[in-house]
């Protein structure tokens, strides 16, 4: 039982990731940081159709979910993608996906009988 609740807790902790990703602009930011490496707010704003202020807000949401973090390089503040957290979000969906595997395997037994 304790194992089970710790697993549930683990999933709960990952939940904010899904919210953070449930927005087009934020997805685009994550995608750019993922493919183009650490970028400054100026660079990130160039590629987005929103203001610098909006980009900053979105980055803060992403940072709150642990998907990105900022770091200083010299006098420049860069935003970095945290791949590990995204992997965690994917794993949660994998678990739901495995529930479907179970259901479909029961269906298979049921119709092939």
């Amino acid at each position: 039982m304790s194992r089970r609740s710790s697993a549930a807790l683990r999933v709960e902790q990952a939940a904010p990731l899904f919210a953070a990703l449930g927005d087009e602009t934020r997805l685009a930011l994550v995608s750019r940081l993922g493919s183009s490496g650490p970028l400054s707010i100026t660079r990130l704003t160039e590629g987005a159709n929103v203001t610098r202020q909006a980009v900053t807000k979105h980055l803060q949401v992403l940072a709150g979910a642990g998907l990105v973090r900022d770091e200083w390089r010299g006098r420049e503040r860069l935003w970095v993608f945290e791949a590990a957290r995204l992997a965690e979000a994917r794993r949660c969906l994998d678990v739901i996906s495995s529930q479907w595997d179970d259901a479909l395997s029961r269906l298979k037994d049921f119709v092939e009988k």
Binding site: V11, S31, I96, L104, V111
Partner: protein
């Protein structure tokens, strides 16, 4: 890519059974219930909602509702539901649902079934966590998965 991975689940399975047989298993309430692990209170019909009850041991108090969307005989069946609506004291009716779609195709020797469930990103976060307490039949298997992930 990211959107696809966190919003949608897709499955393909080959069933060694005629399409008409698979279609019955999907769309006749009693048959659906027997493999899905629920007891439905009514028939599955387009644009109708059907309530049901989980039949897995220890989860019999849980009810849910399937909002049937579309039924195209022997080819397409879809419904919406609140996948994690497991607390009898919470009104889920205002919350977003996910869309479950089954597509059937006749192939040599049987039937190809395609399943998708989409809309996860619209679902309130806490619900997703609850989903794991709701499931029973697959728990052993899932625990192994989770343990693997946690250990990784």
């Amino acid at each position: 890519m990211v959107a696809k991975n966190t919003d949608r689940i897709e499955k393909q399975v080959f069933l060694r059974a005629p399409r008409s047989r698979v279609w019955r298993a999907l769309t006749q309430a009693e048959e659906f219930g027997s493999w899905f692990g629920v007891k439905l209170d009514g028939k599955l019909a387009p644009q109708r909602s059907v309530t049901g009850r989980i039949t897995s041991k220890g989860y019999e108090h849980l009810t849910f509702e399937l909002q049937v969307q579309q039924i195209d005989p022997e080819s397409y069946f879809s419904y919406r539901w609140h996948p994690y609506a497991i607390d009898p004291n919470v009104d889920y009716s205002k919350e977003p649902t996910t869309l479950v779609e089954f597509r059937l195709e006749e192939v040599s020797g049987g039937t190809q079934l395609q399943l998708s469930e989409s809309g996860f990103e619209q679902i309130p976060l806490a619900r997703r966590a609850e989903a794991f307490r709701m499931n029973d039949g697959g728990w052993t298997e899932q625990m192994k998965n989770i343990e693997r992930y946690v250990a990784a």
